[in-house]
């Protein structure tokens, strides 16, 4: 059972890295970006291609899995997304759905629809026995990497000037602008960073969740659950929500194999009905 807990935590932290960009975008720009998963997919495919076609080692590919989607995100944000910040949520939903459709079919066309397989380096494979619990090496790696990321993110958010400007902009963009904060720059930087994180998450997820062109839509609901249950006003909220979701999903699939998925969806619906602003959000 502890193995399940451990796996659940690993899964949860992975979900967090994948979804936190979405949480910040929603909280910051109030933009419903359903195409977020596409950036994760991009990171995964970049890693797979680099490793399989060009023999790049796994660890070396990871930073590129961050940078690639970050750049794509930056370009898209400046050229397309920025025009829709003041549009209705319906428009944003339609737009991002359109983008996802395009991304999925483009990847299907260029890379084929089969699952992408990567070969993990030897030191990340297999399991280790720690205090009687069987722990996967790769999952430990994920927990470490994601844990470091969370700490770094929280530090940036709370200790740096950029972080406080970001928090100000989330709280009230108009007032932030009035204080001389370059809100557009913050939006662009944050969007790019969030997309990069998603890309990194996608690369890490390839081994655990599987990577094929349907990835963005398959896991969209998970990202959305993290954001809505965790709230979009901090990163601690989504962090705990991801952990909760990861553990619940793994446990559900193990203990009630047929209905594991229901656990998640029902949980989400219940939370949304009882606390529409999320379980962990600050009450306004």
């Amino acid at each position: 059972m502890l193995t399940i807990l451990f796996d659940g935590i690993a899964y949860g932290m992975l979900l967090f890295v994948l979804a936190c960009g979405l949480a910040v975008t929603l909280g910051l720009m109030n933009f419903v970006n359903l195409a977020h998963g596409a950036f994760a997919m991009a990171g995964g495919y970049i890693t797979a291609v680099l490793m399989n076609r060009y023999g790049v080692p796994f660890l070396a590919a990871l930073p590129l899995a961050f940078i690639g989607p970050a750049l794509i995100g930056l370009v898209l944000e400046r050229t397309l997304y920025a025009r829709l910040y003041n549009s209705s949520h319906l428009d944003q939903v339609l737009f991002s759905i359109g983008l996802v459709f395009m991304a999925i079919t483009a990847v299907d066309y260029t890379m084929g629809s089969q699952q992408q397989l990567i070969q993990l380096p030897a030191w990340l494979e297999g399991r280790v026995d720690v205090l009687g619990i069987s722990i996967g090496r790769y999952r430990s790696f994920i927990i470490v990497v994601c844990g470091v990321l969370v700490v770094v993110l929280q530090l940036i958010l709370t200790q740096t000037r950029f972080g406080s400007q970001l928090r100000a902009a989330v709280d009230d963009p108009r007032v932030a602008r009035g204080l001389g904060i370059n809100v557009s720059l913050i939006f662009a930087a944050t969007f790019a960073f969030g997309s990069g994180l998603a890309g990194l998450g996608g690369a890490l997820a390839t081994e655990i969740l599987g990577l094929d062109p349907t990835f963005p839509l398959k896991f969209l609901i998970y990202f959305l659950i993290v954001v809505t249950v965790g709230g979009a006003t901090s990163i601690i909220g989504p962090f705990f929500a991801s952990l909760l979701l990861g553990i619940a999903d793994v446990a559900g699939k193990y203990y009630v194999p047929g209905f594991g998925a229901f656990v998640i969806y029902t949980f989400m619906i219940v939370v949304l009905v009882l606390r529409p602003q999320g379980l962990f959000a600050r009450t306004p």
């Binding site: 929603l26 419903v32 397309l80 996802v100 959305l224 047929g258 529409p276």
Partner: protein
Amino acid sequence: MSNGKTSSIGASLVRRGRWRIPEIFFWVVAAGALFVLPDYLLLLNEIAIIGLFAISLDLILGYAGIISLGHGAFFGLGAYVAGLLAKYATGEPLVGLVLAAFAAAVLGFLTSFLVLRGADLSKLMVTLGISLVLYEIANQVSWLTGGADGLQGITVNPIFGKFEFDIFGTTSYAYSLGVTFLLFVIARRLVVSPFGLSLRSIRDNPLRARAVGIPADRRLVAIYTLAAAYAGVAGALLAQTTQFVSLDVLSFNRSADVLLVLVIGGVGYLYGGLLGAIIFKVLQDTLANITPQYWQFWIGLVLVVIVLVGRERLTHWPRTFWERLAGRLVRPSKRLRTRPVREV
């Protein structure tokens, strides 16, 4: 009270309820296609079904302002109910329609309370979540639904005992068109009624709507239930006319597609669903012939372009046309004359 004023204001309000020439023309053409386009009846049947599905979405999106990413749940439920009924109980099509509508309405009613609360994103998520739950259920009970292979072996009796379903789709199209027309008439009546007007007010300004005494929640539950029933009927039509139901009817793609259909045609004036269905299906057919695997790419592109250009701008012409017809936007020269008319 002066009669002149009363009658002109009353007339102005009533005018929007009356059918217009272009509308009658539209339906006559639709019916005429039955005889004039015999090679395309299967396609026309699909258009009618999607059109009805889109109208059902318009009722909640265009008139009540609820963004739903999971409207396919009702469509799919209706399809499976009708399919299972035909397979295991009776092949009587009208019974299937009624039962499908009822089942979808019940689901709609139960889930409507979840959709009342929360912001747009919440509604989106809850509706998406519900359709995903249904998809999972259908997947899990594959012994009943056929799972990924789909529900097969559906046989449907002739309509009214006389009109058999042929392979050319004549009966199918006539059937779907008839049902769609009937439901359309009801919906059209509803949107110009006080109830329909109150829905629009709830969409435009829920705070003010409540402040004039409108029980917003009750109205929203009512329209959501009705829209679910309509979607269920559309699903049933699909099951009965194609005699096959696949898991796809409950997929996210279905819900996204119907949203696209409605957006292409224009939200909020009922005919948008029908126009969008025609455009979408023709587009899809053409694109699928060119790139059978990747036509979704172009659909996605269309969506992106529509949003960037501006939905309002694109559907400006048909909507203004419609509003002029309905007497809601009046040119200054025709403005309501309400100067007191002295009665002699």
